[in-house]
Amino acid sequence: MSTSEWFGPSPPPELISHEPPPKLLSQGAEARVWLVDISSIRNDDATDAPPIKANVSVGSGINAPKLYSLSQLSSVSKDTDNNKMIFICKERFSKKYRHPQLDVSLTKSRTKAEARCLIRCKKADVPCPTVFGIGQWSASDGKVGERNSGTTNPAAASSSCLFLEHINGCTIRHYFEERSNPATEKSELTGEPHAKRARCEEDPSDSANSDTNQAQVQDRITTKIDSHTLVVAHTLGTLVAKMHAAGIIHGDLTTSNIMLRNPSWTSAEDNDNNSSWEPQLVLIDFGLATSTAPVQVNNNNNNKQNKQQHNAEDKAVDLYVLERAFLSTHPESEMLVEQVWKGYQSHYQGMDDESEMKTEDVGDTNSIGAYSCVANSVMNRLEQVRLRGRKREYFG
């Protein structure tokens, strides 16, 4: 990936003089993710640490998040992350290719939207990273992109940062791939904390893998389906349903955007103790998320229009993105996708059961609950969305 002229990106201006230097975890399409170690500013009197400027007011109805300075962060993340004192800085950097006006408005609005959605998810008890703060820089006070190249257009240089909780674990994409890879030795992976988008080069097994890949070029590597991967898929479905019920549309549900806190590398057949293993999934990267009204159905009056008070279209498109991400990155993973849908519907059924308990048995037990209707309408819409792609042979 690196060429002789390319020095890699420079950290955001807020952290440019930070010691130890922030580590670049990944450079996504839109943002760079930095891992910042703040163990060095352990002292409570570290007042010289620059406070994180909050330029964003979070919408009405939601309390503004508590924002911390770098020194305060050390005490916050101590509680959350086993004394590790690290947090994530998601930097939306300026895109040189974009028109400056477009660039600034997109960067700003996306950072704001992401913070809002994360906070709303947190409130709805959907596992996602905690937001610690937001910082924004313009060209005048920042040095963004200085080291990248000499030809940076100063007008286009602006970036904004989101300070987030660091999630220990690996992406489920990495998890599925490693589980499916017969060459991977379990011992090399157990207990190894993986970065947000766990990189293959960090794995000691990688050089061995590429050699075996060369040898078995004609072999199809299929996605492993066992009780563990199935339970991950099922839990993922319930999680997405929970998020949708809270009115959040993720917008970019891929297997790279879902983290697994406690990956279990042993197979279910090897260890009976693992049969009760519950995956702890965390949704990350709400960069394209939008929020709508939460799903609310009133069981007391069984009017049919209540079932239409949610946006099935957005939810179905969200699921369609997930389905395509699954099938394009994980060959022959149809079983897993099936489990995701089951999990999705089971969550809404669970909501029905809960609401029926609250309202002390309304209506006859044979009818489908109002929340299940929501799930059904989303799944029906998904059918329509699938047929929508251009130039499909079974269409038109």
Binding site: M1, S2, T3, W6, G8, P9, S26, Q27, G28, A29, E30, K95, K96, Y97, R98, H99, Q101, L102, S105, L106, N148, S149, R173, H174, E177, R199, C200, E201, N209, S210, N213, V217, Q218, D219, R220, I221, G251, D252, L253, T254, S256, L288, V317, V321, S328, T329, P331, R388, G389, R390, K391, R392, E393, F395, G396
Partner: protein, 436 residues
């Protein structure tokens, strides 16, 4: 040889009985055609792809041991014929000739299937003749050098596709050559890979009918992102129609020329337009409606008038803003796919792919990721016959069962033919490893 061509000409006109010679002459549409300059005869340094010998039963190399394929393309408003040869001694593919004609519709109109079919029917015979005589100028019977005929099976407009398929079938029967059915999108990708010597790029395919971000994985070209409504070229063409830009040589090129009026000294106004990226997908229809409404607003300054107020905008401003917005969307989904697949090189193909501004934006994005951009000029970016021949050549050399037809059976065109439907037998079946 002349008698052969007369037979095809008759076959074509019999197939569309409504077209008479007199009628076609008087039609204003058939006169309006632009011809590209002849393609220079330069060798393409290709990727090392030695063909396995056990598929040689499918075709016979010519007397000089070369495999030569004639490709016929006509899925949209361009009709092109290319002759491509493979020389096993140097392991290179070479475009021997690649003539093309473009049907240009009048200002304010798009190209309609009927007129476009007439145009293709009128020109395909001449193009085959021109391509063969350019490839083998000394040879009295140049068709003897050919090993196979490749044609576009789809996707595209039905009428134009069928017109060219009839020509291909007729030639196949006349000269007793095997037919190869080629997917138009795959042809674009393969031509780009060979012409730019990029082995495994992320492909941005942008044209009048297609907008896709494609990466190879496990025997197929997988579509990672695409438009959910109209194609990017379609959006540009329709906007050009609304503001009355000429369709000659192409509406997109005239928009590019308008947008190039933007300089550092005299910057054009950037009008905000809807920016619609949904995950890996893009949408242009709402944007098009929005910009069409803008041309009806009081702030729109018509051609020849002067801007009086700050908030006013001209055609050039709109062209510039349209390009900036839609290309930013395209670059963004391309970058997403690169990040997703861990790829660092990008190949841009299709008619919109020769837009300089899009190439510049892609180059800036790729530079930031430490990768390379593979771009081509209009000869290979825009639909052409050589690309059909190139993909057909791969199908022939690697014995693709779906592409190599038995006789004329299975040569019915299809308007819907997904990129990921084709099994890419000429590339190894490896799953992409997530490395960056």
């Amino acid at each position: 040889m002349r008698s052969f061509f007369n037979v095809i000409a008759v076959a074509l006109f019999v197939s569309s009985p409504k077209v008479k010679f007199g009628a076609s002459r008087s039609s204003p549409y058939l006169i309006m055609t632009s011809t590209d300059p002849p393609c220079p005869l330069e060798p393409i340094h290709n990727l090392p792809l030695p063909p396995p010998s056990h598929f040689s039963h499918l075709y016979t190399p010519n007397s000089s041991n070369q495999t030569v394929v004639l490709g016929i393309e006509g899925s949209a408003n361009k009709v092109g014929v290319g002759v491509l040869s493979y020389d096993p001694s140097t392991q290179t593919y070479q475009t021997l000739s690649n003539p093309r004609k473009t049907y240009v519709s009048p200002v304010g109109f798009g190209f309609l299937p009927k007129e476009t079919s007439w145009h293709h029917q009128a020109h395909v015979v001449g193009l085959v003749r021109a391509a063969l005589s350019e490839a083998y100028p000394e040879d009295g019977e140049p068709q003897r050098n050919l090993s196979a005929i490749a044609f576009t099976l789809g996707p595209g407009m039905g009428g134009p596709l069928r017109s060219c398929a009839i020509a291909a079938r007729t030639l196949s029967l006349l000269w007793n050559l095997p037919l190869i059915a080629v997917n138009h999108c795959i042809a674009h990708i393969e031509m780009g890979r060979v012409a730019t010597s990029s082995s495994d790029p992320v492909v941005l395919y942008v044209s009048g009918g297609n907008t896709q971000v494609i990466a190879y994985s496990d025997g197929r070209y997988r579509i990672f992102g695409e438009t959910i409504d109209i194609a990017v070229g379609n959006c540009l063409d329709r906007f050009a129609r609304v503001v009355g830009l000429s369709n000659d040589p192409s509406p997109g090129y005239n928009i590019e020329l308008e947008a190039r009026k933007h300089t550092l000294e005299n910057p054009l106004k950037f009008v905000e337009l809807p920016y619609v990226v949904k995950g890996m997908d893009v949408s242009f229809s709402g944007l098009l409606t929005n910009i069409e409404e803008l041309t009806k607003s009081t702030n729109f300054v018509k051609e020849g008038q002067e801007k009086e107020r700050e908030e006013q905008f001209t055609v050039a401003d709109l062209c510039y803003s349209l390009q900036e917005t839609i290309f930013a969307m395209l670059v963004e989904i391309t970058e997403r796919t690169m990040a997703h697949c861990g790829q660092s090189s990008v190949l841009v193909v299709g008619g919109v792919g020769c837009n300089k501004r899009l190439q510049d934006m892609l180059a800036l994005m790729v530079q930031d990721r430490g990768g390379t951009l593979c771009a081509m000029d209009h000869r290979y970016c825009i639909d052409n016959g050589a690309m059909i021949a190139q993909a057909g050549m791969f199908g022939l050399q690697y014995g693709s069962e779906s592409m190599c037809l038995k006789g004329v059976e299975g040569s019915e065109c299809t308007q819907r033919f997904r990129t990921d439907q084709v099994e890419v037998v000429w590339r190894p079946k490896t799953r992409r490893k997530h490395i960056s």
